[in-house]
């Protein structure tokens, strides 16, 4: 078990401090996880619009406690991440404790520096996401929302209630994917590319926040229903080679098929099957870019008996054939321009 404890502040140098505690060095604000603790990276990016973002993609080989003691000054951390975890994930915000049994969460939320945060992530977890540090002044200047303060206060009061998490939708997942893999052929500074996508993710979140917190009273979707849908989503994506039947999913969640479709759309923004298909193709892209498996085999792995159906489905999502996408990815590897992975 590794325990990382610190007190949060706007100028706190998390990368170098964490590197020291892990017994390693971070060069140029990039921390590579030592093999003893896992593999992957955590890096800091200063964006042109003065936001500070942490981008990470790593696997843990040990249980990890992240203990962030509250700071002195109001400041915010925005988190947007996908965590695949084989065991229990525990989040404690002040006195509120939430557990997630897994196997995956993918969500965004905002945390105040004035709260204590403790997070337990079990060994074998894979984390991929961004954290953005945002000052109240930045929110005032950039979001220009008069009523934002009130809305933020109401949001932060919700604390660990499930409902304060926004499930990532198709667009934000796509943006996170783009953030992790900037194109090779970029002519402009990669920081601009990162900033534009971070900003679109923030827009997605703050637009949602405003809509939900700004309403006089929240519409009737209960915490139980959200938890049910989180369960449905898990089952839906458990095996990307075959879509479970809607009847089965609805039965397990103890709701009617119609109600499930409605609720699922509410929480995830897409009907279940479309959502499944979207993730299936994102997975295909990942395998394509990270392995040398032949396209046909990737299709087969994802349940396509017919290669041309697979290619068609892939094109629908990415507007490019799997083979073409791979050759683009390969030229990136050759020039060595890709980011540490």
């Amino acid at each position: 078990m590794f325990e990382f404890s610190f007190t949060i502040a706007a100028d706190y140098d998390v990368i170098n401090d964490l590197a020291k505690q892990l017994g390693t060095n971070a060069e140029d604000d990039v921390l590579m996880l030592p093999a003893k603790y896992g593999s992957g990276y955590l890096r800091k990016e200063k964006l042109p619009n003065k936001l500070q973002a942490f981008i990470y993609n790593f696997s843990l080989a040990d249980d990890f406690w992240f203990n962030r003691a509250k700071g002195q000054k109001e400041y915010y951390a925005f988190i947007c991440e996908q965590v695949a975890h084989p065991g229990k994930l525990i989040t404690v915000i002040d006195a509120n404790r939430v557990e997630d049994k897994g196997p995956e969460v993918s969500h965004m939320y905002l945390l105040s520096f004035l709260s204590d945060l403790r997070q337990f992530t079990p060994s074998g977890s894979h984390l991929k996401g961004i954290r953005v540090m945002i000052s109240p002044e930045w929110i005032a200047a950039h979001l220009r929302i008069d009523r934002m303060e009130d809305i933020l206060a109401r949001y932060l009061q919700l604390k660990a209630e499930t409902v304060h998490l926004k499930e990532m939708d198709k667009e934000s997942r796509q943006l996170l994917q783009e953030l992790m893999n900037p194109p090779v052929e970029l002519h402009t500074d990669v920081h601009a590319y990162l900033q534009n996508r971070v900003m679109l993710i923030l827009e997605n979140f703050f637009g949602w926040l405003y809509q939900h917190m700004g309403e006089k009273k929240r519409k009737g979707i209960s915490k139980e229903d959200i938890n049910r849908m989180i369960e449905v989503e898990r089952k839906l994506l458990a095996d990307l080679s075959i879509a479970p039947s809607l009847d089965e999913l609805a039965r397990d969640a103890a709701v009617s098929v119609t109600k499930m479709k409605t609720l699922f759309g509410l929480v995830y923004g897409l009907p279940p099957y479309a959502y499944f298909q979207q993730h299936r193709m994102l997975r295909a892209k990942e395998i394509l870019l990270q392995t040398d498996l032949p396209v046909q085999q990737i299709g087969a792995q994802l349940g396509y008996k017919n290669m041309s159906n697979f290619i068609l489905a892939f094109r629908k999502v990415f507007h490019i054939n799997p083979g073409e996408l791979r050759s683009k990815g390969a030229s990136r590897r050759k020039t060595g321009e890709n980011l540490p992975n």
């Binding site: 619009n49 002519h187 402009t188 900033q195 309403e215 519409k219 479309a274």
Partner: protein, 333 residues
């Protein structure tokens, strides 16, 4: 004929001066075009990241000449313009004149105030545009493009329209329409505009620098690019119930079907039918998102005779059904 001299380095000052000249008052940074000149408005925005942006939607009722004198220190003006031209329109940049012919000009272009520029628009021009002012320091800070950047300088100095024309395709238009259509009362209006302006700039800068690097459009003549703009506007015009056949288009534009298909693909990146399909479905999506129309209305408006074909095509592109948008809207109230 109306003549205007401009030299303002940001759009706020520009519309303020214009308002004084026209004897009107600005309302929420928006200038209404006086009736003797035409109809429409120009909205000036100062984005949180320091960009000055003008969003215009104007129909001209008179001939107008806009003259911008060379100015130091120089700054850039990046324009995304969709202009329907009735008789003619002319641009003169650094003494180099280009005549834009009817019926349509729909492209992005970057100018520097290092050069004098004149725009002559004639009566009947209808213009939707997003213009952005920035300087080299801003460009270096936000996009890492330095003042000395060779590719960009080459682009600015280029007299050949062939390389500087960047036709607006569905992807550009999506952002432009979002900018034109977003309600200024939206609580995160500035964020929405800024994010789309930045995406437009990112795409534009990368594409022109790629072009400058490759110089690989030997067979594309300026006249051909203009012709393709016409074809594109033919494909994307309102109330189009069916796609004109390639034969009809090739007859209309005086070239062989093979050549037409090839040129279109070279300029817009997609085969004609696929492009038409993307446009029409994007349009359908935005109509549905507006919340004013039913799936049925939108499907028929987009020229589908069968709603199930519409739903199928829609799902193919977006991975969800048209009705899902309506449902989602309902949930979110």
């Amino acid at each position: 004929m109306f003549h205007l001299e401009i030299d303002q380095a940001d759009f706020h000052s520009l519309i303020k001066d214009l308002a004084a000249k026209f004897g009107t008052v600005l309302d929420q940074n928006t200038l209404q075009i006086p009736a003797y000149l035409g109809k429409g408005s120009i909205r000036a925005l100062r984005l949180p990241n320091g960009l000055s942006v003008a969003v215009s939607n104007i129909a001209m009722d008179t001939d107008i000449t806009l003259h911008r004198k060379q100015k130091e220190p120089a700054f850039y003006i990046l324009g995304f313009d969709e202009i329907f031209i009735r008789t003619k329109m002319e641009q003169v940049i650094g003494g180099d004149a280009a005549s834009l012919r009817p019926p349509v000009y729909s492209a992005a272009a970057l100018h520097s105030t290092m050069f004098d520029s004149t725009m002559i628009a004639t009566r009947g021009c209808v213009m939707k545009s997003v213009k952005i002012i920035f300087d080299t320091r801003w460009l270096a800070k936000y996009f890492g493009v330095e003042r000395e950047d060779e590719l960009l300088m080459k682009y600015i100095a280029l007299k050949s329209k062939k390389l500087t024309l960047e036709p607006l395709d569905v992807d550009y238009k999506k952002y432009i329409n979002d900018i034109l259509d977003t309600d200024p009362g939206d609580p995160i209006y500035y964020t929405i505009i800024e994010n789309r302006v930045m995406m437009l700039m990112e795409r534009f800068l990368n594409r022109i620098m790629e072009k400058m690097e490759e110089y690989d459009l030997p067979h594309l003549q300026t006249a051909d690019v203009f012709k393709m703009m016409e074809v594109e506007s033919e494909l994307t015009k309102e109330h189009l119930s069916a796609l004109p056949t390639v034969e009809a288009l090739s007859e209309k534009f005086g070239m062989s079907p093979t050549r037409l298909k090839k040129l279109f693909r070279d300029v817009y990146g997609y085969p004609i039918y696929e492009y038409f399909q993307r446009h029409r479905l994007e349009k359908a999506r935005s109509l549905l998102l507006s919340g004013t129309y039913s799936v049925k209305e939108v499907g028929y408006e987009m020229g589908y005779r069968s709603l199930s074909n519409f739903a199928k095509a829609f799902r193919q592109m977006f991975d969800y059904l048209p009705s899902d948008i309506i449902k989602t809207r309902k949930y979110e109230g």
